[in-house]
Amino acid sequence: MVSAGLDPLAAAVRAITLAEAGGANEVEAVVSADEARLTRFANSEIHQNVAETNESLNLRVAIGRRVGVASSNRLDDEGLRRLAETAVAIARNSEELDDWAGLPEPSPITEIPGGHSEATARATPEQRAEGVRAVIAAADAAGVRAFGSFSTSAERLAVANSKGIRAEQRRTAAQLLTVMMAADGGSGYAEGAGVDVTTIDAAVIGRQAAEKARATANPVSIEPGDWAVVLEEYAVVDLLSLLAYMGFSALAVQEERSFFEPGKEIGSELVTIVDDAFEPGAMPMAFDYEGVAKQRVVLVERGVCRDVVWDTQTAARSGRRSTGHGLPAPNPYGPFPLNMVMSPGDASPDELIGGLERGLLVTRFHYTNPVHPKLAIVTGMTRDGTFLVEDGRIVGPVRNLRFTQSYLAALAGTTAVGRERRTLRGDFGGVLVPAVRIDGWTFTGATEH
């Protein structure tokens, strides 16, 4: 449970007062009080089990058009005083920003009750161990070994600024993931995530991974090349996360390094992607790290680029308003979508696979990285369950493959979208995604397992 000692908003306001007294004429304070817990298991036993309690404050000050940022996790009076002095000193010694937009003005913030779960905030090591034992039991029953982690976290976040923003929210997150491996080369993966830890059924996740580990025994090699694929939800998360990284930020567009152009057709009409902080399945949040209320942003609608996400600085440059997607300062990456949602289609899981005349079913990707961001070309590996499908039926497991693939071409080649979706944790926040079927996925290499 998050320690009750700190009042995040009060600490933020205190820091603002101190910085203003030091000569700053604009001040923003972001305070985070975190309790993070994670139980990790490997070879069907718990091998790492950790807890962290932390409170930190990120202070951005402006003196005219000179801006400085300082952060600290010493939030007593002396710590706050020193922090304010440091931020002000940095601003005084920095250079003027010609296009400094100033800090945002207050805007109405809608409370989002679905972002916090008391059960998650109060989760104990004994509860996490119980969940892990359920996963291990599923592994034992299938004769495979279980690896994975079970995490629960609670955060109190407060953002305040000298223009009157006072925003505060509590958020929780839970995630249970497992890789199961068999002596015969089989490997399977399953994951559950959400705001409320009680929605995660450890036994079900364990059984799903165990079944896949058994089903992938003795995989065979296939030739790389262009294959039609069905990507399970775990793989689709990567598609959305990297597209966000490469192109859905206003800063990337302003710097002309994004593939994004309003009105440009980049996907099939089956593809609609939004950033929706109000979506219960995408780990909601009410405001961004500048204290600006979140807005729902349609990124891609029926395959056509609609908008990107904005923070105060990028919005001012283009005569727009922030959509509530600012990250903590200093932020070289620009605004970022943290609640990505892909609209469902109408295909059942069986129909997705049934539509493959000859192709591959991919559970998830591993170690993906942009090769050419502007073309959205990405390389990576398949992992933990890749299957050959012929005439709409799974024939058997195949060894893992490397792909070098334009994720834009993947959107364009999407031929079916699943009607069921999963809440998962992406690299940058909550994600709600369906499985998809894509024509012409380019595999460029193979490995030995």
């Binding site: 993070a36 994670l38 990790r40 490997a42 070879n43 036993e45 718990i46 091998h47 790492q48 089990n49 950790v50 807890a51 962290e52 309690t53 932390n54 400085g68 940022v69 300082a70 952060s71 600290s72 996790n73 010493r74 922090l83 940095i90 601003a91 010694n93 920095s94 250079e95 920003l97 296009d99 090591p125 996490r128 070994r145 982690s149 995490s151 890789v179 491996m181 710097e255 002309e256 390094r257 593939f259 300062a329 200093p330 070289p332 591993h366 170690y367 990285n369 090769v371 050419h372 390389t379 590996m381 893992n400 490397r402 070098t404 693939q405 460029t444 290499g445 193979a446 030995e448 397992h449």
Partner: protein
């Protein structure tokens, strides 16, 4: 700090811990980011706290807090013990640690000029000068220059009486130019955009980089890349500049020799390793006779250099590959006994709120007397010279890798010729290293490294070093995918 550490340990022992260690860490950071002449961000950060790791009934528990009070020391120690007891409910093999003498002493990164004492305006001025030199080249779309410094003081105490105090100073700086035309985006960076420009050193390292002097030529290369032909695809002889080779070592030798990964403890995240213990026993041929790789936590300037690791094991150099044969792992007190060895001292934690994991120290490909890097190029009739990493990926057992570099130069008749854009190459780790037929000598041997090596759940970033001199590889697949 000693009082807090002692109190935490005493509490943990009273509650049933058979072993406990405590680290108190204070970290100060400073960063400056310039983008196209604009001082985009100047930031200072401080974080401090402590973490206690305990063994109870043969199971691990860890808890940490940013509150350094005595009452919090008791609470956190008790939480660590409770967590360990929960771990014990899903335990199959009790943890056993190898013996080592109690660690005692101090260590400090040798520096000439304290980066935190150099006036901020001066540091900004150095970056602005480099940025301006890059921006002044016609055709450059945007530029970036960056500086980072970190100082960390770390104490370590354990139930065996160990007590060490260490202070580390790491700095880095770099400049990059970006040229964009249509769908083509080309970047050139110096020393290397994704790592490289970091060292365990003072500000003298930044001054020595001469960012402004390199910025113009690299910006010209970025612009030239826009109109350069696509790098050809096929089987090629390639020569890797140290700015790419260090990451090849990192991904295809550093990670697969982590013994915790070999035993599966990272399987659910980063994966496992093809370098299983049977390969150690059989003398597996990892590379050609020219390949000597060592994990050296004593190497000057390396970000993986220290006095003791985060289990109190003294720094040392451990051979990983000798004359091409796989001979050693990166190990810990828990994992080393399982292969009949003692810890090589490579347990490192990312701050006060993370447990130590087996991490790279400085994984160095040793230079070979005989040929300089220029000699290697001169000795190459037909090939490609690849420099500056742009993209990296490797499979979950560290076998199939693929890298992209910022540029390639054609080598014809022993001379660098045409510039090519978008080079990529791929291979299988041991096949690639076995194809190495030349390693540069001391003249191009340079300590590079990366400050963002990711591992573990919750995630940890490590500062690791890699010294290398450049090398040549035969019959490598170049040019991957559709462009």
């Amino acid at each position: 700090m000693r009082d807090l550490s002692d109190r935490s340990i005493d509490t943990a022992v009273q509650l049933g811990a058979s072993y406990a260690d405590v680290r108190v860490v204070r970290r100060a950071e400073e960063s400056i980011a310039i983008k196209s002449g604009r001082v985009e961000g100047v930031a200072s950060g401080e974080s401090e706290g402590f973490g206690i790791r305990v063994l109870v009934d043969g199971a691990w528990g860890f808890a940490s807090s940013s509150d350094l009070s005595a009452t919090e020391a008791d609470r956190v120690a008790a939480e660590a013990v409770r967590i360990a007891k929960a771990s014990a409910t899903a335990l199959r093999n009790r943890v056993r640690l190898d013996d080592r003498p109690p660690a005692r002493g101090t260590y400090e990164t040798p520096i000439q000029e304290d980066p935190f004492s150099v006036p901020l305006e001066e540091k900004i001025g150095h970056l602005l000068a480099a940025d301006e030199a890059a921006r002044s080249v016609k055709g450059v779309a945007f530029t970036e220059a960056r500086y980072d410094a970190q100082r960390e003081t770390r104490t370590f105490a354990a139930t065996d009486g160990s007590w060490t105090e260490q202070t580390f100073t790491h700095v880095g700086a770099g400049v990059e130019a970006n040229a964009i035309e249509g769908d083509e985006h080309q970047r050139r960076s110096y020393p290397d955009a994704d790592g490289g420009p970091f060292k365990a050193a003072g500000y003298e390292f930044v001054r020595g980089l001469d960012l402004a002097g390199h910025a113009g030529p690299l910006a010209e290369e970025a612009v030239a890349l826009l109109s350069a032909p696509q790098c050809p695809a096929g089987r090629f002889t390639i020569v890797l500049d140290p700015s790419q080779l260090y990451l090849q070592v990192h991904e295809s030798c550093g990670h697969p020799t982590e013994l915790d990964r070999v035993f599966g403890t990272e399987a659910s995240y980063a994966g496992t390793s093809f370098l299983t213990p049977d390969k150690l026993d059989e003398g597996f041929r990892y590379g050609s006779d020219l390949v000597d790789i060592v994990a050296d936590a004593t190497a000057p300037g390396g970000m993986g250099t220290f006095g003791w690791d985060d289990e109190g094991v003294a720094a040392r150099a451990v051979p990983l590959v000798r004359n091409g044969i796989f001979v050693g792992y990166l190990t810990s007190r828990e994992t080393a006994p399982r292969i009949g060895r003692q810890s090589g001292g490579t347990m490192r934690a990312d701050g006060w709120n993370r447990i130590p994991l087996i991490r790279m120290t400085n994984i160095n490909l040793l230079p070979k007397p005989g040929m300089s890097l220029d000699d290697i190029v001169a000795d190459t009739d037909d090939g490609l010279y690849l420099a500056s990493n742009r993209s990296w990926s490797i499979d979950d057992r560290r076998l199939n890798f693929q890298f992209a570099t910022e540029l390639a130069y054609e080598i014809k008749g022993g001379k660098k010729g045409r510039l090519f854009k978008n080079p990529t190459y791929t291979g299988i780790t041991y096949e690639f290293w076995r194809s190495c037929d030349a390693v540069g000598d001391e003249s191009s041997y340079v300590m590079l490294g990366t400050p963002n090596c990711g591992k573990g759940e919750p995630g940890q970033g490590a500062h690791v070093g890699h010294a290398c001199s450049g090398a040549r590889f035969r019959d490598v697949q170049v040019g991957v995918g559709k462009w």
